[in-house]
Subunit: 107 residues, 2 copies
DNA sequence: ACAAGTACCCACTAAATAGTCAGGTACTGA
DNA sequence: TCAGTACCTGACTATTTAGTGGGTACTTGT
């Protein structure tokens, strides 16, 4: 595991993963339950969603809160760090949105 | 190949790949030859570097210019689109740099 | 003659990542 | 009792991504 060579390198490592950007995007508007996330991010399997959420949790990006209820309720939200990450991601989102057509065409 | 759901999704697809952020970072200061890039981005293999460069070229992010000389010379540089991407990546780089210590610790 | 530098390509393997499917608990409502 | 919801876990497979080691063609330096 080589050390990060620049901030971008470190950030890429955190958001790398097929579903992480979508998760971050979904959580932008507030806390969400597991099931809500699953419905929101269509195409993701339960397993992958859990896996990616756990990774983001381990990195301190998302917070996982279990409510001891029946049926069970688990809420995921962005931490302070997660929110600051999302802020840093905004220009990138705008860039992607702006050039969406060209990008769609070239893949 | 699902359509992009948001700009972030599209952008992540473009910069996704083990070496792409490093390449973008390296080209930030101007055009570079293949060999220079290889030396700059230590740890990358020739094959991966070529592969990722080709992908970035196909996406319109980098420009490849061949000089018909012996020994051969090929120069890679950022296109307008590539430069705008790099600008959008700057906050992310800063975020990564700022939280480098926490991020290093949690992997 | 021969190694070294330049910018690659190709076949193959290994590792990382993602997906499928079956299960498991602790309930609620019919 | 039986289906249904919510939130998972673990075994296994498939796909994608990355790495290894070889080869090309040509020239300059020793």
């Amino acid at each position: 595991m080589r050390p990060y060579t620049c901030g971008l390198d470190a950030a890429a490592d955190v958001i790398g993963g097929k579903w992480k950007p979508r998760i971050l995007w979904a959580l932008h508007h507030g806390p969400m339950r597991f099931g809500e996330l699953r419905r929101e991010i269509q195409g993701v399997t339960e397993k992958m969603l859990i896996q990616q959420l756990r990774e983001l949790e381990a990195r301190g990006i998302v917070h996982r809160e279990v409510f001891h209820q029946v049926p069970p309720k688990v809420e995921y939200s962005l931490t302070e760090l997660g929110m600051s990450l999302n802020v840093a991601l905004m220009p990138l989102d705008e860039w992607g949105a702006k050039h969406m057509d060209v990008l769609e065409a070239s893949r």
